[in-house]
């Protein structure tokens, strides 16, 4: 899937002066399988980029297209299908269900388009060292633990692009490496790409492209 941000300028960011290589106001292509780092300081619109790209915000000038189709023409059912099969997201505010357990959060997402068995999901938790949290309510987890649950949830679907909005902000280096390795493996396995937004840290990963805000 090819995503194009054609001279996008979000309304809340229109009054700010952006650099000449910023994605805002320029022509940007996110090509199939590309691993992209989006590096920017606070308030430059990293989350706005995430929400605009996946159709959760429409307050912008310019055009966002998926395979040459303007996303503004998509209907709610089209978006549901895209979010089930094409694009997966780790939101900055994680968007977990606090009243459900870790297991329920993951199984609910997995039920939409089952890609893993319960055992496989539990194994992923084990890999990120939170296997004992399966029965625990999400609201009782630390932010770092919640981030790892959100990352695993994003894996529980087929996708062509994974958007990660500051997914390691509450993780130590060791856990960040574990999470990234898992993400990278999953993307390679599917031939998918990702966009990772960070606050200046490249986490010593290798990327195909780096975008600026």
């Amino acid at each position: 899937m090819k995503i194009v941000l054609d001279h996008i300028m979000p309304v809340p960011l229109a009054s700010i002066k952006h650099s000449s290589n910023s994605i805002w106001g320029n022509y940007i292509e996110l090509n199939h399988g590309e691993k992209i780092l989006l590096n920017a300081s606070s308030g430059k619109g990293k989350s706005t980029f995430t929400l605009t790209t996946i159709g959760l915000r429409s307050d912008y000038a310019g055009t966002v297209t998926y395979n040459n189709v303007d996303v503004q023409t998509f209907k709610p059912t089209d978006w549901a299908l895209i979010r089930q099969e094409k694009i997966s997201v780790v939101f900055q505010d994680l968007q977990l269900f606090p009243n459900l357990t870790v297991g329920e959060n993951l199984l609910l997402k997995n039920s939409l388009n089952p890609v893993y068995s319960v055992q496989e999901i539990r194994k992923m938790l084990e890999r990120l060292e939170i296997e004992d949290k399966w029965e625990q309510q999400c609201s009782l987890l630390s932010m770092g633990q919640q981030q790892r649950v959100a990352i695993i949830r994003a894996m529980c679907q087929p996708f062509e692009l994974l958007i990660l909005d500051e997914p390691f902000s509450h993780l130590d280096e060791e856990n960040t490496q574990r999470c990234f390795t898992m993400i990278n493996e999953r993307c390679t396995e599917q031939g998918a790409g990702f966009v990772l937004t960070t606050l200046g840290d490249d986490h010593k990963f290798k990327y195909d492209k780096e975008l600026k805000l």
Binding site: L56, P76, T77, W79, A80, L81, R83, Q84, V89, F91, Q95, L96, F97, N99, L100, E104, L107, L108, K109, S111, L112, N113, R153, Q157
Partner: protein
């Protein structure tokens, strides 16, 4: 899991109140509609006269016996009665203006002959098929509706003559004939009974037969209208009764008692029906409002479900089915309690001598289905609007 996510942490107090209200409303709604229909149908078909119909005449007093007051109805009086809002129709009862006698004309039955009084009323007051109730010159026989008292009299005569008595059905097979007499002419016309009435004391004949007799064998005297038929509106019989009192009119007591009873019971059920409609409407609104509240309390959950890829229709369906199931259970319970009520009320009516039809009224069931359908539609619209608001 979706159910746990959306409905587990809700304050159910408001829901319980709405459910109780809806249950009571539904129960009384179906009960009142059922009995309103059954009470209005009471007496239908038992007589050839239509429901809520009475024959009235002016009260005979000493002054009218002395010809000081009139006992006939003027056109103006009929018009005034007809203009009352609770009156459906008023028509004069036309009597014969010629001599007529009635006799058996069947070899199986002993001869019985009597001078009689015949009358005709507008067909719309009669509960009889129009194909049976017509006559024209040259027809084989004239259809007649007989006062039941006449059959009793005939049976008394048969019994005293040592002949077996006859039933209603058998009486309808017996051949009779009228003898119409004028100043110089005489004519015989065969007659057949097609029904009986308790409400009229004379033999009823089709209008065309009366016109024929009155035109051909008239005695020449002007015929006065001394009886009229009044058809009152459902549940407003009390007003008809007041009118009769005010105008010094009278009717057969049995007709009045049934009319009064139907009117009182009908009004009672109408009041219950009104209250039930309000109760169902209000509780339905509370349920719908509760659905909106639940959706707004779950705004984050709904939004997140849509963000992670749930189809809006799946979330709409979840809310919609949750409330439709609740209302379905409430309606079923209401229907069940209605059957219990019905058992006790039918027994109560029967022990009081009111033999109303005990079959379930289809209209009551259709009303319940209609109420349910309305709620289903309202739930769907509310769920759809609520979910798309979070989109």
């Amino acid at each position: 899991m979706l159910n746990k996510l959306l409905y587990k942490n809700q304050d159910k107090k408001q829901l319980v109140i709405a459910i109780i209200g809806a249950f009571m409303g539904i129960t009384f709604l179906i009960t009142s509609i059922h009995y309103l229909i059954k009470v209005n149908d009471f007496g239908k078909g038992s007589d050839i006269l239509g429901p809520n119909t009475i024959i009235v005449q002016k009260k005979v007093t000493n002054s009218s016996s002395l010809n000081m007051t009139k006992t006939d109805f003027s056109e103006n009086e009929i018009k005034k009665i007809k203009a009352e809002p609770f009156i459906q129709d008023v028509q004069p009862v036309i009597s014969n203006n010629f001599d007529v006698s009635f006799e058996t004309a069947d070899p199986m039955v002993p001869r019985f002959r009597s001078d009689v009084f015949i009358q005709t009323v507008d067909q719309k007051f009669l509960d009889v098929k129009s194909t049976k109730w017509h006559w024209k010159e040259g027809d084989k026989f004239v259809p007649i509706i007989m006062p039941r008292d006449f059959l009793v009299m005939l049976n008394t005569f048969m019994s005293s003559s040592g002949i077996p008595q006859i039933s209603d059905d058998l009486a309808m097979d017996i051949k009779f004939k009228f003898t119409l007499k004028g100043e110089t002419d005489k004519e015989w016309v065969d007659a057949r009974i097609i029904g009986f009435t308790n409400e009229v004391s004379s033999i009823l004949v089709p209008e065309s037969f009366m016109e024929y007799g009155n035109a051909k064998y008239t005695s020449g005297k002007e015929k006065k209208i001394t009886q009229i038929m009044i058809s009152g509106k459902e549940s407003e019989f009390g007003l008809v009764e007041d009118l009769l009192k005010k105008r010094g009119l009278e009717s057969k007591n049995a007709q009045m008692v049934v009319g009064r009873l139907k009117s009182v019971v009908g009004t009672l059920f109408l009041v219950v029906l009104g209250i039930s409609i309000i109760a169902v409407f209000v509780s339905g609104l509370v349920l719908i409002q509760y659905m909106q509240l639940l959706m707004s309390r779950n705004a984050y959950e709904v939004r997140t479900l849509l963000r992670i890829g749930f189809f809006p229709q799946v979330v709409i369906k979840s809310f919609f089915l949750y409330f439709v199931k609740i209302f379905g259970i409430v309606s079923s319970l209401g229907l069940l309690v209605f059957f219990v009520f019905k058992y006790f009320l039918d027994t109560m009516f029967e022990s009081g001598g009111l033999y109303i039809d005990t079959q379930i009224s289809m209209i009551a069931l259709i009303s319940l289905a209609g109420t349910y359908l309305l709620f289903v539609l309202a739930s769907y619209r509310t769920a759809k609007n609520g979910i798309f608001k979070q989109y």
